[in-house]
């Protein structure tokens, strides 16, 4: 278990060094900043759709780190050395997902109040938004690591990753945006269930992809 934490912490360290911490967050906030320029500073409109925009922004921001999640470790032999030490690919994937939740998810959650203020999301929706994002981030991390493992080494991996992520993220987005509706208590439970299922399945999918790509 100590080893698991160590591998996960290495992921966190890697994601917080070399601009990895700020890039997705700045991107996330940039989307929140740009949107009012397009729609015009219509307070009523922004308060209605602001939460949904932040869901899209969070999903897109989660695509940014995909290229560095698996490929560098495969190329540098880190994955080989872990497997050699008896780590199952599923455990390696699970550690990477945990590291990604902390390394990417927590900064994103911390930036969310700023984004909420930028778009003027009303208070009652803001709470549902933060809660919903917190529930969905493990699923985003699981999808991110799975897609990274599937596309590592392919040409145009990041573009392909985007294409793969979109259909897989739809359930999360539907329930996530659903939580923003007034009096939508069930949406939060459905979102939690979907996120749990995705997070639980992701290590197996990503682990299988890691194993299949080893040669």
């Amino acid at each position: 278990m100590k080893g698991f934490a160590r591998i996960a912490w290495r992921e966190v360290r890697l994601s917080w060094t070399g601009g990895g911490l700020w890039l997705p967050i700045v991107f996330y906030l940039a989307v929140a900043t740009l949107f009012p320029f397009v729609t015009g500073p219509d307070k009523a409109l922004l308060s209605r759709v602001g939460g949904s925009i932040l869901w899209i922004a969070a999903l897109l921001a989660s695509l940014l780190p995909i290229e560095r999640l698996v490929l560098p470790d495969r190329q540098s032999g880190v994955l080989d050395q872990l497997v050699l030490r008896g780590w199952a690919d599923e455990w390696i994937a699970a550690a990477k997902i945990c590291g990604h939740i902390i390394g990417f998810g927590i900064p994103l959650l911390l930036a969310t109040p700023v984004a909420i203020a930028l778009l003027g999301v009303p208070d009652e929706k803001a709470l549902a938004l933060v809660l919903g994002l917190a529930l969905a981030l493990p699923a985003f991390a699981g999808l991110g690591v799975t897609i990274a493992a599937l596309t590592a080494g392919l040409n145009g991996a990041s573009a392909l990753g985007g294409l793969l992520l979109v259909p897989l993220a739809i359930p999360i987005l539907i329930f996530g945006a659903g939580t923003l509706d007034d009096g939508a208590t069930n949406a939060l439970q459905l979102l939690a269930a979907t996120s749990l299922a995705m997070t639980a399945l992701a290590p197996f999918a990503a682990g299988a992809a890691l194993r299949a790509a080893r040669d």
């Binding site: 080893g3 290495r10 890697l14 032999g77 080989d80 050395q81």
Partner: protein, 205 residues
């Protein structure tokens, strides 16, 4: 190192075939190695030395035949597996702490390859030979009784080749097994040399 050696490591390969990608790299390959042996693996480029090591490490499946290994395996190949942004000692330390190896043992291994003065330097600033020594230090520090060294002399200067050979010879005297795949002979007593040649290159599927 004797304290950490597993009781008599052995490797027995019996008519093993290994497929990499869709190519049959090794076939009908048999090999036995026991405690204390230093085996020099020779063969032309692409003859399957690295593939053999990867299969022994469990990174590649064995397509047919039986393979039995007893004892932990440490592999040092072309891939450094060290984080480039980290100081050398911390980069190697990631692996030694994962293996539950004491920091003292790590510093001894680093001193063995004359890396003491480089401990604080980020790995990306090291020269090719220094990086290679870093990867070798991880293997030296490990508790593994079977060492697989793939082209360990690449980039090493004379003095460090001698240091590495001395370490390999100590490892074997302590009961370990060392496989050295190299185009130049180790300068210490080689127990046996295995030549991998592959007259037949054929598609597996």
């Amino acid at each position: 190192m004797p304290d950490s050696q597993a009781a008599s490591p052995t490797i027995i390969l019996d008519r093993v075939a290994i497929i990499r990608g869709s190519r049959l790299i090794l076939r009908n390959f048999s090999l036995e190695a026991e405690s204390g042996e230093l085996i020099w693996v020779r063969g032309a480029n692409g003859s399957g030395k690295s593939t053999l090591f990867r299969a022994l490490s469990g990174l590649l499946p064995i397509a047919s035949g039986t393979a039995e290994t007893r004892g932990a395996i440490a592999l040092c190949d072309d891939n450094l597996a060290l984080d480039l942004d980290q100081p050398l000692e911390k980069a190697i330390g990631f692996w030694t702490t994962l293996d539950g190896i004491s920091p003292q043992r790590l510093s001894v291994a680093m001193e063995t390859l004359d890396l003491g003065s480089l401990a604080g330097l980020p790995v990306r600033l090291l020269s090719a030979g220094q990086k290679k020594r870093g990867a070798l230090a991880r293997l030296l520090a490990s508790n593994a009784s079977i060492w697989l060294l793939d082209e360990p002399y690449n980039g090493l200067d004379q003095a460090n080749v001698a240091r590495l050979d001395a370490a390999i010879s100590r490892h074997c005297e302590a009961g370990g097994i060392a496989f050295v795949a190299s185009h130049i002979a180790p300068t210490v007593n080689v127990g046996r040399s295995v030549v991998i040649d592959r007259p037949l290159v054929e598609a597996a599927i």
